[in-house]
Symmetry: D2
Subunit: 235 residues, 4 copies
């Protein structure tokens, strides 16, 4: 992801300095770079080590690194103490953010209508190494949290009939570029299907660059895609 972001910023002449293992971050380098915003595409551990430096250098931060979310509270506290400005997301696809919100709202609006069942499918290319996908598990948990009739998730092939309390989500592997989620709210008389396809990984780069631009106009604080799209949604 990091290289794709670098390529995009280079193309638009917006790239300043690139830090990596050959050019490690120091406070002095950060200040000399005159960058307004740091895009951290490292890993969780490295991000947590460097965050104090970014904040001391008074630079805004867009966090692409993952695997640090257990430390979210500390990070928020640290950013607040420094009156810093930080953006984070576990998935920078704008439409996946919208998609999750659509699933959440459907659950909330339909949850007291027992004639509706919920179930879903994810389809990924054959090079995908795990099943179900990480994003799929997040969506499964989102449904469990918002649709009380479902008490547990089954990702495996059912052995016999499933119970009404089981949310079944199937994983399918095929093709070279599929990244698809497809969920159903289904009653005997009506059906809503909500489907998301990421056509390419560019979707994530676009989201990162939009987050960077969004931060330019924000007051100090910690932001996610939720705030970004909500602000954009205001009249």
């Amino acid at each position: 992801m990091g290289q794709a972001v670098i390529d995009s910023l280079t193309q638009s002449n917006q790239l300043g300095e690139v830090f990596n293992s050959q050019n490690e971050v120091t406070l002095e380098k950060l200040i000399n770079s005159h960058a307004k915003t740091i895009i951290d595409c490292s890993i969780g551990e490295v991000f947590l080590k460097n965050l104090p430096l970014y904040l001391q250098a008074k630079q805004k931060v867009v966090v692409v690194a993952t695997a640090w979310y257990d430390h979210l509270d500390e990070v928020k506290k640290l950013v607040d103490e420094h009156q810093g400005t930080l953006f984070w997301a576990d998935n920078y696809s704008i439409s996946m953010m919208v998609y999750k919100r659509l699933i959440e709202i459907s659950c909330q609006m339909l949850k007291n209508n027992p004639e509706f069942d919920v179930y879903g499918l994810e389809l990924h290319h054959t090079a995908k190494k795990d099943a179900p996908a990480g994003t799929t598990k997040q969506i499964g948990q989102l449904i469990l949290n918002n649709f009380p009739a479902k008490k547990e998730i089954l990702y495996d092939l059912p052995q016999g009939q499933i119970t009404p309390e089981t949310l079944h989500i199937a994983s399918l592997r095929g093709g070279t570029d599929n990244i698809v989620h497809d969920f159903y709210f289904d009653s005997p008389d009506e059906l809503i299907e909500i489907k998301h396809s990421a056509k390419s990984r560019k979707a994530f780069v676009t989201g990162i660059l939009k987050a960077t631009e969004f931060l330019n106009n924000q007051k100090p604080g910690v932001y996610t895609l939720k705030e970004m799209l909500a602000v954009k949604a205001a009249p």
Copy 2:
């Protein structure tokens, strides 16, 4: 629709008196009926004439009749003056209500992302007499109101290339029981598809009976599916 509602209420022993052209509504009959709620499946004109009687008889009202919406403000005022309780909807399908909300939210969250295009399709059975469907036109207007990049709707077959400001919605006719809406939020890198199917007309009867039940527990006021699903969605 009226007969299907009558059949359903009869089956569940909930039906009181049936008024029609052979048994016209009067204040005296209404009071003697001891009905808690009137379900008005007439036409707009008849509903407007009888509403004052319903209100004087202190009965709650579920309005299935259409073609009176130009008088909505008067109706609201009249209900308020009598401290009455009234429910209305132009489409009693619960999932269509949810569907419209999903379209609205998608527009609001994506409207400032110019890489997203919006377009849609409706498919109805071959007995359908008009194209596009009335519900389709409502959805089209909803998008126009919430997605500023679209300035006009084209329902016809395009003559040449369409402009970016045109929201194209196609109508397809085929099969014996299709009632489908399918809308797309589509960028070069990502796609959200939101699809609704009414499998049978029972969806509308279910919604009417749920609205009737919902009114039982409401204070005086004018309600729509929006309030019903919002209340139901509360924890």
Copy 3:
């Protein structure tokens, strides 16, 4: 299935005698029934026992009973010896027969184009007791027989990355009336999706009645849906 066939024949005044455990089949009863065609909706064992009687009574036979296919060769021989006329199918849905043919042809036309991958999905209602469905396994085998790049079928949730030789078919359980098969022929540049939905069990009754009608005009022999649709396809 038997009762639905009886209901349909009764409605159209085509039903003769009904045999069951209270009214067991004998040669005498068969001859006295003056029926032109026997529709056997029993089980494999009972069908095999009664077939000689049908043939001696010179009646045509439509076999709905299953679980006798290991004896197919004996059955064919017996029918030939009596110059009888028999129709059988493991699935009487006409469109499922067409569907299988479409899958077969796609395999045959694309099998030497290694850029194409094949994979599929079946979705059945939550009351379904087994996974994958029997019809799904037949389709899987059909692909294995006609698309040499695929050597084995995986119905389970993948553990890690699948091999190119694996045909992955996922099963999804949800809703009250879904009976869906959906298969994909997918290259990096092109995609064919072939989807079948049985909307109700009436599809099977329709197929049985059409087979009965079809037999009226056939010479002695053993027939399946393949011959029926081929004859119908002739100019």
Copy 4:
């Protein structure tokens, strides 16, 4: 299309000489080029003028140029006289060829089952200049030729209810890269949906290069995708 083919052949070191308006075709140049196969990506008029030269130079020909099909009989005769070898297609997508065959077979197998209706949709990107697409019109004609219940095609928005003899095909315009055809064979009890998506224009280049390779092993004659896929489909 021509440039994309040139790029592909260049990458694989298979490209010989390129002829165009700066380097016009002559018999001498053709012979000196030592090319085995000419890929003609010009226009119909130019192709017809140059074909005799290709044949005299004893070179095989893959015709990508369109708008010469009124002269198909003459072309076939000329190729036969020279014992030449020529391949032509109006659409070089392999899967579109398969797709048309699937539509044709479905029509033939279902045409005597009056409970089945046929209808379809095409979706193309917003830069598309015409509606319906050329390929869509070919598919419409294919259905008319093979499904006798349909007597005429309606591409426009229906004015009132359509007749059972009308094949309705809708065109939808939206997004940046959609090239989709979606056709339905739909009865009250069963549904077959057959959908084709060209994900990119590379599909056409792939088909052209496969046709070129295919011609290497063919005896003199005139070939189309039909023969190519049939040969490939043989055991």
